[in-house]
Symmetry: C2
Subunit: 384 residues, 2 copies
């Protein structure tokens, strides 16, 4: 095998984009093996654009066809785990879309099944992990450049979604159809990056607004406090109603600070000695003198890096890395089993708001599912 | 009377600075009436610098002397309310330092007493209210330029305090001596400004770290979530251990956004129509086109204002305004009775962390005082 034949499950916006990337040759080690969508109307569109590519209405048929070596799941979140399992069961490599699922219980089943198939590649579309900017930030943290983390603060509100977006399908922004709003749909990348870079929080307390600025059942605004259990704290804010979106991520460490603006610019301040040592040997007057004299450079170095980013480049990078793992054992940037962390954090944020109290991670998965099912039941009752 | 004769109670760093401002003629309608400090050693310093100014060791003697028309209280926080009351009782105008007190119960007594003396001027040293930048921000909010507030977010960590600062006196950073740390000592201005500009929150939930990065009993780090009771939310973060301090205040409204950086630069984005109308009539594709074409100017105007600020100018402005109110009924920028809001918020933040749950404002003042007294008792026990 020189190229991985990818089966794309779900030929909507995302699936269509992936097909386009491959067709344009942007994923060097992949070709389109087959397309699949439960909507028969998509067949005509697929045949016109990709006349020589087989089209299936049932993904199981596609898995059994021998047309594909691997699949990607561009379908509603709830379906990701079962599709991942069915694929792996048939020795077809699986790249699941984010989020890995809606609740950890189902994601755990996927992970456990994947463990029984170590010879297969199981990845997740955490395309932001291939973003050089976040790789750089992770490296700085992992290197200990800014020391142990004291505080994280991410305001990420750059995904404005108008009412029309929510109205486009009946399942959008419902508990039954998506299992949440901004947390499961827009923010999973940041929920992943935050933990990938800064570690998994131990406790969260949240204030989540359901249908605050949009006529939807699920959340369009989230404010969360994180407790890392070692003294470090964090704040995570996201929403879909800020048309003047902010994306600002600050990490304070024992030996410096990183600020990421607009996922484009990284400002790194590295202290020449740990803050605790400065505290022990400098007076406020010493510091005021440094500051007034414009000599703060005596205590830290500043590095500013600007990154260019092209939409899609990160998706194709994940696809290429996924195929590279299948073909040449290239290390996976986003192992599928990592998908559970973001789901666990999203579940904890929901649960904290439902219970009105701080919750520990991992949350009780049966309790979460019971509460989620209550939301689904309430939603159905309101529809009737 | 053409100039107000000010009695300065407490001839330490702050009291000494105020004396200097007046002596240098920076407060045009004030003169130094008398100086006062319980430390007899300060008399020599005072006599040398201000040879013709009377010095008292007991502030009651100063109040009774006829040497002063007004006083300012540059003494530990706990003493502000009683000194305010004793002054007003003797028909001496009172400018209390921030915070107005340590707990609302004592501040309420001061406010209630001041109400019985409406002919006297009762002010508080909220010098940041005279900062043109915050006046501008308040005006924009009050004018409705950015519509109703949806979210506030202030990270204010620009007051680094080394261990030596805390070690300079036995009462510093103790429950008995100061009644708190960063909340009562460094952050009162922001706790005031936040409410002055954005309104009083209805509920708070906090994660407060006591002696986190410094060897102190009180708090050196605070993370708080605010709930304004009308859907609007907020986050307030402060600490004294960030030598690379951040000062970033963001306010999101229905019709725009304000970001204040470093208390120097204000960026105002005013939407040409409310966000809810954009949500109703624009699609994601419309917005993506505007954004990709660099045409976001079609939906908002941006204004950036840079301010210069000189340390001390804001203190002298409060003093001048206070004297102006005494002499010419000039409207008070910072009425003393406003001091209770910041104390109430600080109390709520402490109490939420002590009880481990969200608390409503105003907090039960007896409960707060009982909990504070427990901290004082614990502290004493540890000293023994």
């Amino acid at each position: 095998m020189t190229k991985v034949r990818l089966g794309i499950i779900g030929f909507g916006t995302q699936g269509g984009a992936y097909a386009g990337f491959i067709q344009e040759g942007r994923v060097k080690n992949m070709e389109i093996g087959a397309l699949c969508d439960t909507d028969p109307a998509k067949r005509a569109v697929a045949n016109e654009k990709y006349p020589n590519i087989p089209f299936y209405e049932n993904y199981i048929d596609m898995l059994d066809s021998g047309d594909v070596d691997a699949v990607v799941t561009c379908v509603p979140h709830y379906l990701h785990p079962e599709m991942g399992i069915e694929s792996l069961k048939r020795d077809v490599h699986a790249l699941v879309e984010k989020p890995a699922g809606v609740y950890t219980k189902q994601v755990k089943e996927l992970n456990e099944f994947a463990e029984t198939k170590p010879e297969l590649t199981f990845g997740i579309m955490f395309n932001q992990r291939t973003n050089e900017l976040y790789q750089k930030v992770k490296k700085i943290i992992d290197n200990g450049d800014i020391g142990g983390i004291r505080r994280t603060n991410w305001i990420i509100t750059t995904w404005w979604r108008p009412q029309g977006y929510y109205d486009q399908s009946a399942w959008r922004a419902t508990w039954e159809g998506e299992g949440g709003g901004v947390l499961v749909n827009q923010a999973p990348h940041q929920l992943d990056l935050l933990q990938w870079i800064c570690g998994v929080p131990k406790k969260v307390y949240s204030n989540v607004k359901y249908g605050y600025q949009r006529d939807i059942a699920v959340e369009d605004e989230v404010t969360t406090m994180l407790d890392y259990g070692n003294g470090a704290t964090g704040v995570f804010v996201t929403c879909t109603h800020d048309v003047l979106g902010t994306d600002r991520f600050e990490i304070l460490g024992d030996k410096g600070k990183i600020v990421v603006d607009d996922s484009k610019k990284v400002t790194i301040k590295r202290l020449k000695q740990p803050e605790s040592e400065l505290s022990d040997k400098m007076s406020m007057q010493d510091m005021a003198k440094l500051s007034a004299g414009g000599n703060m450079g005596e205590i830290y170095d500043e590095e500013v890096i600007e990154f260019e980013s092209v939409w899609g480049a990160q998706h194709t990078a994940v696809m290429e890395n996924f195929a590279g793992n299948i073909l040449d054992d290239e290390p996976l940037l986003a192992p599928g089993s990592d998908g559970i962390h973001g789901v666990a954090l999203a579940n904890a944020i929901h649960l904290s708001s439902w219970l009105g109290k701080e919750v520990e991670l991992p949350v009780d998965e049966d309790l979460y599912l019971a509460e989620l099912n209550k939301k689904i039941a309430e939603e159905k009752q309101m529809d009737n």
